[in-house]
Symmetry: C2
Subunit: 128 residues, 2 copies
Amino acid sequence: MQEISELKYDQNGLIPAIILDVETGEVLMMAYMNEQSLRATIETGKTHFWSRSRQKYWMKGEESGHTQEVKEIFIDCDKDTLLVKVKQTGAACHEGYRTCFFRRLTPTGQWETVGQKLFDPKEVYKKK
Amino acid sequence: MQEISELKYDQNGLIPAIILDVETGEVLMMAYMNEQSLRATIETGKTHFWSRSRQKYWMKGEESGHTQEVKEIFIDCDKDTLLVKVKQTGAACHEGYRTCFFRRLTPTGQWETVGQKLFDPKEVYKKK
């Protein structure tokens, strides 16, 4: 996998990854990968990320079961952004929506919720 | 537009914006906005960005004519990433492809070009 090292990671060693649902065509989420999580994504066929807020390596769905099966990986012209097409189990958003982009800007400058809630986060992410 | 100020910009005052083609459903590109470029995007209905490499405010298509007409703007759950649905004139990528994500990872770890070139960058971006 020599070409993988040609990617342009940012000053923190991260590269943004846009996650697209191959079945619905929806943009599900955006998260950040480092070299380790990209390698794990490719090797396991499930998306792995680096959490900036928790400073932690994680597999999508490790707690919720809402994993993402990788179908295709694209890179942009500048080689600094990934686009990963996945088959999503359940819902991508930790708030219970299919996609994290469930709020739309209204003409009056408000964010209105347009996505449909598919699960209750309190049920899925139980305190341990 | 009071809600706009609730966005989480990064330490450089930027927020990533994923640009989606409303007609084809393709992810066209990802670029960064600051408060000024987001405001201009909303007010003019054409996408505006902040170029990190050129440290410059720009309107998509200002040189090529390949502008993006804004149809809808979404925000993700963490309010740190935008998704903008646009009507694309011409092609989004400065290398001449419809989308910047024209290279796909092969099973052997290479990036193969799968997008179709729609214009010759040398013709479109003429030296002044």
